[in-house]
């Protein structure tokens, strides 16, 4: 009884309810992020890159299409009533990030497939009447529209989590930026990895590495800001059960190590360059999953933190 008085709230009951989402959601955030990042990198290379850049980055369109395949099934599987997945599209309500995201995914998926098909027709992979038909796709328009939709897809996920009352997700302004940076670093890493496997010229590999490192540095900066703004609220992420996945996998192996590896690869050529770039890219891609998963899981712990909820809703 006396003990109760020392606490601020009602026993130790949480103020808000625990999110009901399961592993499908962080998996979707990760794949959707890779898809948008790869599509964006590929599109920018088509517009601004050298001949080699254009050729090897175009694999990003395949990667984007492939990464999008499991996205809608993952989101559907997480619903309480999966057979009603199409109810997401019975209204257009961009005020709800969930609705905006459903529409963006619906629009972006066919565009990514169209651009991948156009690429297949270009390289002779897609022949016959379908190939001829595919050649009619207005590539520049598809790239431009897809870039905008891809940015929306990569950008809304963090904002969706932030548009709740879970202290870890809602306190900082920067979670949307963190997820966007992670999408761009993992997406450009996927393009770099594919290029290294196809033995792209060194100059092109170096440029992909520079872009991936820039995204990684940006990710590090915005993540630092996110943790600083979250303060004590970030504890479920930075200490306890999720500290290892977050610090070791997401930050260490997923962000710092790739920066180091790319730096080591800086002046190298040929095989050593390809090995170091590939290793860095794989670390970045895996680190992106670790980042999404640890922030997602830590949010569940945070939702049960009564004191953090009161702090969030008092200023």
């Amino acid at each position: 009884m006396i003990e109760n008085q020392r606490r601020e709230g009602y026993y130790d009951y949480p103020v808000i309810r625990r999110p009901v989402w399961t592993w499908e959601i962080p998996a979707y955030f990760w794949l959707g992020g890779i898809a948008s990042g790869a599509y964006l990198t590929a599109s920018l290379a088509q517009r601004f890159g050298s001949k080699d850049d254009r050729q090897y980055a175009a694999d990003g369109f395949y990667l984007a299409a492939a990464a999008l395949v499991p996205c809608a099934p993952l989101l559907t599987a997480d619903l309480g009533r999966p057979e009603r997945f199409h109810h997401m599209l019975r209204i257009f309500k961009p005020l709800s990030p969930m609705n905006l995201g459903a529409w963006t995914l619906t629009a972006f998926t066919p565009l990514a497939f169209a651009r991948a098909a156009a690429r297949a027709a270009e390289t002779g992979l897609l022949r016959g009447p379908l190939g001829v038909l595919t050649r009619l796709i207005p590539k520049t328009l598809v790239e431009l529209t897809g870039t905008l939709l891809g940015l929306t897809l990569a950008g809304y996920t963090g904002v969706l989590l932030a548009a709740t009352n879970v202290p870890l997700w809602a306190r900082s302004k920067l979670l949307g930026g963190v997820f966007m940076a992670s999408a761009m670093s993992s997406g450009s890493a996927a393009v770099g990895l594919a290029a290294a496997r196809r033995r792209a010229p060194d100059a092109t590999l170096h440029r992909f590495a520079t872009i991936e490192s820039a995204a990684g540095l940006g990710e590090l900066a915005i993540l630092t800001g996110y943790l600083a703004q979250s303060g004590k609220t970030a504890r479920p992420l930075t200490a306890g059960r999720l500290a290892a996945p977050f610090w070791v996998a997401a930050v260490g192996a997923g962000t710092l190590l790739p920066l180091l590896l790319h730096r080591m690869a800086g002046r190298r050529q040929g095989r050593p360059l390809r090995i170091l770039s590939s290793a860095a890219a794989m670390c970045t891609i895996a680190g992106s999953l670790a980042l999404r998963w640890s922030i997602f899981e830590a949010g569940k712990i945070s939702s049960e933190d009564q004191a953090a909820s009161f702090e969030l809703s008092s200023d």
Partner: protein, 280 residues
């Protein structure tokens, strides 16, 4: 043309607005009998939550949830005065607040959550697909999703309906009907607010200096979620009842968060363009 479409798609006209209805829960009158919990479960045919003992006073309900739409709290307080401990017991029947700006309703991507003609917030069970976004959006921890393997309306979001079905027949919601002390009062929202202000004046005149109203149009709680259609007279700080002092509406900070997200995305695109650039 539009009429034909509406006929074809079986689109009904929304019901005409009625006088806004709500609950005034006067916790100073609550005796903790839990008749409201039972009446709510019975009328809405909600399953039992099991027989777990929490060890926290007489509250074995714990929290509001998908199948618990009224929850009586038992707050035991002890304060040292000149000669020993002064003890008191605060009881409060918690419920969905039916906010004027409801976070759950704004989060809902399917339009399953709607505002009724009585100004209350209602989940259309045949529309909800159980996306779960309303659950962490609610600043009060009210709405929840039923387990997908359960027997009661599996996998959709549930909360107090303010007995929408009873309201349609001009009946009082089950909890208010069953309350033996008039701690739960139902009626036209404007009239209830008047009554609450009078009651607060009475209590303050009797020396209840910490008594306050929670969720009135003029109170600080209303600055984001708006006035509550189910509001309370409390005898202590809101936190003592697990109520946030300024319940947040996620929409208010969303633009800023989108802004940072866009900043990072556009920044990446510019950097990539520069790295690729000039090498054609």
């Amino acid at each position: 043309m539009i009429d034909a479409y509406k006929r074809l798609m079986n689109i009904e006209e929304p019901p005409a607005p009625k006088t806004a209805k709500g609950f005034f829960t006067d916790t100073s009158l609550c005796i903790g009998c839990k008749a409201c919990e039972v009446a709510c479960k019975q009328w809405n045919q909600l399953p039992a939550d099991g027989f777990a003992m929490t060890g926290n006073s007489y509250d074995n309900t714990g929290t509001l949830g998908a199948t618990t739409w009224r929850h009586v709290q038992f707050i035991e307080q002890a304060k040292a005065n000149g000669h020993g401990l002064e003890q008191r017991w605060l009881m409060m029947s918690d419920v969905c607040k039916h906010c004027a700006n409801a976070a759950c309703l704004e989060a809902c991507p399917t339009g399953a959550l709607v505002r009724t003609e009585y100004g209350t917030v209602y989940v259309q069970q045949d529309v909800c697909n159980g996306c779960g976004f309303c659950v962490p959006a609610c600043p009060f921890g009210v709405i929840d999703r039923t387990p997908t393997d359960g027997h009661f309306e599996a996998g959709t979001a549930h909360k107090c309906t303010l007995c929408y079905d009873r309201l349609k027949d001009d009946m009082t919601p089950a909890c208010a009907k069953s309350c033996p002390t008039a701690s739960i009062q139902f009626g036209d929202i404007d009239e209830l607010r008047e009554r609450a202000r009078r009651r607060l004046g009475e209590l303050q005149a009797r020396g209840e200096s910490t008594a306050r109203l929670y969720g009135m149009p003029e109170s600080t709680e209303a600055q984001e979620v708006g006035p509550l259609h189910a509001f309370f007279l409390l005898l202590d700080e809101p936190e003592k009842y697990n109520l946030p002092s300024i319940p947040r509406l996620p929409r208010k900070t969303m633009a800023e968060r989108y802004g940072w997200s866009a900043f990072v995305g556009v920044g990446f695109a510019l950097v990539a363009a520069v790295v690729f650039g000039g090498r054609r």
